[in-house]
C-alpha cells in the first residue's frame, strides 16, 4: 500500500559495507514507508543477503560508508538485540539450530524483550502459552514444535514457519525476510506467504529478499528493486518482477557495463 504521506520507517542512504575486508555493498539507497511491501531481487552474490545482515547488525559485516535511519534514529548505532526490540526483524534464510534451548522458552524471552520495549507487561509462562498457541495458527504450526530445541531437526519448511511465528510474536515494524521462500514446497510457500500477508498492516513494512517471482505471486509487492554488484540498479512496480521472470538477469549485465566500473577488493 503506497501512501506518500505515510511516515518513513527505514531510510538507507548510500550504504557501503564489507565482510572480511571484501566490499559487498556499493552505495545502496532505499526508503521504506509504513504500509509498503518491497521486494529486492537479484542474482546470487548481488549483495541482497548482505543488506539484510547489515540491517540486522551481524557482527561479521562492517559498514564502511553511508547510513541507515530507522524512524529517525541511527539504526547502525544500535546493538542487534536493540534493533530487534525496537521492531526490526530479520527472517533468516538459514534459521540456526540451537540444541538444548527450548523453542518455547526462546520465544518467550524474545517476546518479553520486545513487549517491554513497547511498554507492555511481560507475559508469564501461562499467559505466553495462550499467546503462542493463538499465533501458531498464523503459520498452521504443530504445537509439538514448541517443546523441541530451537529449530533442531526441523525440516526446511518447519524452520521457515518458525521464523514467521517469531515475526508474529515480535510484532515488528520493519520485517526483512531473507529468501523466506527458499527450500519450500508449494504448500509450505502458501502457508508462509499467507502468514506474511496476515501480518502486514498499514503501520508496518516488509522487505522481501528473493530470487523468484513465485513468492511474489502470493505476496504482492508495492515496489520491486533489482540489485546487482552491491547497489540497487533499477526500481519499479510488481511488473518489474514479471519482466525479470521473462527476460532473466542478462540485461542487468549490460546495464552494469554501461555504468562506471565498480571497485572490487
Amino acid at each position: 500500500m503506497i501512501r506518500p504521506e505515510a511516515p518513513v520507517l527505514l531510510e538507507i542512504r548510500d550504504l557501503y559495507a564489507s565482510v572480511a575486508d571484501q566490499p559487498i555493498l556499493h552505495g545502496v539507497n532505499l526508503t521504506i514507508r509504513a504500509g509498503e511491501i518491497h521486494a529486492v531481487m537479484g542474482r546470487n552474490g548481488s549483495g541482497k543477503s548482505t543488506l539484510s545482515k547489515v540491517l540486522a547488525g551481524h557482527p561479521a559485516y562492517t559498514v564502511t560508508g553511508g547510513g541507515v535511519s530507522y524512524r529517525g534514529e541511527d539504526l547502525l548505532a544500535l546493538a542487534p538485540e536493540l534493533r530487534a526490540r525496537r521492531g526490526v526483524f530479520l527472517g533468516f534464510q538459514y534459521p540456526v539450530e540451537i540444541p538444548g534451548v527450548s523453542n518455547l522458552e526462546f520465544l518467550r524471552v524474545a517476546t518479553n524483550g520486545r513487549r517491554l520495549e513497547q511498554g507492555a507487561e511481560e507475559l508469564d509462562t501461562f499467559a505466553f502459552e495462550d499467546l503462542v498457541r493463538e499465533r501458531l495458527a498464523v503459520v498452521q504450526m504443530d504445537p509439538a514444535f514448541l517443546e523441541r530445541s530451537v529449530n533442531e531437526g526441523f525440516s526446511g519448511g518447519e524452520k521457515k514457519r518458525n521464523e514467521i511465528l517469531q515475526m508474529a510474536l515480535l510484532d515488528p515494524l520493519v520485517a526483512i525476510l531473507d529468501e523466506t521462500d527458499s527450500g519450500l514446497d508449494i504448500d509450505a510457500l502458501r502457508i508462509v506467504a499467507g502468514g506474511v500477508n496476515q501480518l502486514a498492516t498499514p503501520d508496518n513494512a516488509t522487505l522481501l529478499i528473493t530470487h523468484y517471482q513465485r513468492l511474489l505471486d502470493v505476496i504482492t509487492p508495492d515496489y520491486v528493486h533489482v540489485m546487482a554488484a552491491g547497489r540497487i540498479l533499477r526500481t519499479g512496480g510488481k511488473e518489474l518482477a514479471l519482466e525479470l521472470e521473462d527476460r532473466g538477469y542478462d540485461w542487468v549485465d549490460a546495464e552494469l557495463a554501461a555504468l562506471a566500473p565498480v571497485e572490487v577488493g
Binding site: 551481524h58 542487534p80 538485540e81 534493533r83 540451537i98 522458552e105 524474545a110 520495549e117
Partner: protein, 437 residues
C-alpha cells in the same frame, strides 16, 4: 621411576602420606582393618601421584599438595546446614566418623552388610585382585597399580558404608558429604552389592568450601539384570580437592548409568572404571565438568568388555573458562572375547577463554574384529551464528550466551536423578554460588 634423580621432589610427598597414615587409629572391625592395612602398605609404596606418570601427566597436583595431611575432625558436617532432601529420598550423611545409618530407616530392598561378611567380601573377591587389598574387581584389570584416589580412600577411611540391594528400591538413595569450611582429608568408602534384577537410583553428592580433600572409593557390583542409575554431583570451593574412583562391575544384562556434574574445585579427578565381566551389559556414562579461574578438572574413565555384545554410550562435556584446565582420558578396551561390542564415546568441550586449556584423549584398544566402536572429540567456542540468531530476536549478548551454555549443560544434566534438583546443578555449572542455606 628414577628415585636418584628426584630425591628432593619425592621427600615432601612421602611425608604427606606418612603423616596422614600416622593419624589413622584402629577404628575398623578387625577383619576390615586387615584390608585397610593392606591398602596402606600399597600406598606407602606409591605415596603420591607424580606428573611423571602417564595417568597424571596433564594434571597439576599442586592443590592436592596444599591440603593439610590430617583427617577432618568429627562433626564437620552439620546435617542441618544441608538443603532439605527432596520427597521420596533417603539421605545418608557421611562425615567419616558418625555412623551414616544411625537414626535412618533404610527403605525396603536395602540392607546393611554386616562387618563379618564384608570382611570376606573384601578379602575374597570373585576375581583375582593381586596383592592390592584396596583394589576392587573392576580396579584389578587396570594394571599393577590401583588408582591412587581409590587407594588413598581405602587406606585411610575409618568406616565403610556397605549395602546390599534386592528387588526394586523405590526411594532414591542420596549419599552426601560436605567438608564445608573444615581443612584436612575426608576419606569415604562405599560398597554396593546389587543382586540379580535389583534396581536402585543413587545420588552421590560431595561438597567442600575450604582447603580440604574429599577422596572417595565407591564400588558397585551389579548382578545379572540389575539396574543402577547413578548421579554424582561435586560442588567445591577454590582450594578444595575431590578425588573419586567409581569401580563398577557388571554382569550380563545389567544396566549402569552414571551422570556426573562437577564444578568449582581447585582440582577434581573422577575415575569411573566399568568392567563388563562377561560383556552383554549396558553402560551409559554422561559427564559434565566446568573449570574457571585456575581450576583443574580431570576425568580418566576406563571401560572394559570381557565378553561379547556389551554396549557403551559415553558423552563427556567440558566448559573451560578463565585459566581453567580440563583433562579427559577415555579408555575403552575391547579384547578378542568382546565380539559384537557396540561402543560410542564422544567428548565435547566448550572453550570460553583464550587462557583455558583442554586436553582430551580417546584411547580405544580394539582387538576383536566384529565390533562397532565410534569416538569423536570436538573443542569449540560458543557458536557466533547461534549467538547472533538469539541477539537478532532481542536477547542481549550475555543472556544469549547463558541460554547457549544452559543448552550445552542440559544434555547431561537432564539425566541426573530428579532428586538432584535441590543441589541446583545448573547454577553450579554456570558459575553461580552453590546453594547454602
Amino acid at each position: 621411576m628414577g628415585s636418584l634423580s628426584m630425591p628432593t621432589a619425592e621427600a615432601p610427598a612421602r611425608t604427606w602420606s606418612t603423616a596422614l597414615l600416622g593419624e589413622i587409629g584402629p577404628g575398623l572391625e578387625p577383619t576390615l582393618e586387615a584390608a585397610r592395612q593392606r591398602a596402606a602398605l600399597t600406598l606407602a609404596r606409591h605415596p603420591f601421584p607424580s606428573r611423571r606418570e602417564e595417568a597424571w601427566r596433564f594434571t597439576d597436583i599442586a592443590p592436592l599438595q596444599a591440603i593439610t595431611p590430617a583427617l577432618l575432625a568429627p562433626g564437620t558436617t552439620d546435617p542441618a546446614t544441608l538443603p532439605a532432601a527432596a520427597a521420596g529420598v533417603v539421605r545418608l550423611v557421611l562425615d567419616g566418623h558418625r555412623d551414616p545409618l544411625a537414626g535412618v530407616s533404610l527403605p525396603a530392598g536395602i540392607e546393611s552388610i554386616p562387618a563379618a561378611e564384608l570382611g570376606t567380601l573384601l578379602q575374597q573377591p570373585p576375581n583375582d585382585r593381586g596383592e592390592e587389598g584396596a583394589s576392587t574387581h573392576a580396579a584389578a584389570w587396570a594394571g599393577s597399580e590401583a588408582p591412587w584416589s581409590g587407594l588413598l580412600a581405602a587406606a585411610t577411611a575409618g568406616q565403610i558404608l556397605a549395602l546390599r540391594v534386592k528387588g526394586v528400591v523405590e526411594p532414591t538413595l542420596e549419599v552426601v558429604s560436605d567438608a564445608a569450611t573444615a581443612e584436612g582429608v575426608l576419606p569415604l568408602r562405599l560398597l554396593l552389592i546389587l543382586e540379580s534384577d535389583a534396581q536402585l537410583e543413587l545420588l552421590q553428592v560431595h561438597r567442600a568450601a575450604a582447603a580440604s580433600l574429599t577422596t572417595v572409593l565407591l564400588e558397585a557390583r551389579l548382578g545379572a539384570g540389575a539396574r543402577l542409575s547413578h548421579g554424582l554431583i561435586g560442588q567445591g570451593g577454590d582450594a578444595a580437592v575431590l578425588l573419586a574412583e567409581l569401580a563398577i562391575d557388571q554382569e550380563p544384562a545389567s544396566h549402569y548409568a552414571l551422570t556426573s556434574a562437577v564444578a568449582g574445585w581447585a582440582l577434581s579427578r573422577l575415575e569411573p572404571r566399568v568392567l563388563q565381566s562377561s560383556g552383554a551389559a549396558t553402560s551409559r556414562l554422561r559427564s559434565l565438568q566446568r573449570v574457571d579461574g585456575r581450576q583443574i578438572a580431570d576425568q580418566h574413565s576406563q571401560v572394559r568388555f570381557e565378553g561379547p555384545e556389551g554396549k557403551l554410550d559415553q558423552l563427556h562435556k567440558v566448559i573451560a573458562d578463565g585459566a581453567g584446565r580440563s583433562v579427559f582420558n577415555g579408555a575403552v578396551a575391547v579384547p578378542q572375547a568382546a565380539q559384537r561390542t557396540d561402543a560410542v564415546q564422544l567428548s565435547r568441550s566448550l572453550l570460553l577463554s583464550d587462557r583455558a586449556r583442554i586436553d582430551t584423549k580417546p584411547q580405544l584398544e580394539i582387538v576383536a574384529d566384529d565390533v562397532k566402536c565410534a569416538h569423536g572429540a570436538t573443542v569449540s567456542r560458543l557458536q557466533q551464528e547461534e549467538l547472533f540468531y538469539l541477539r537478532s530476536r532481542g536477547i542481549d549478548a550475555a543472556k544469549a550466551a547463558g541460554l547457549l551454555l544452559r543448552g550445552f549443560c542440559g544434555e547431561v544434566l537432564r539425566d541426573l536423578p530428579a532428586a538432584a534438583a535441590i543441589w541446583q546443578p545448573l547454577g553450579a555449572m554456570l558459575g553461580e554460588e552453590a546453594p547454602r542455606p
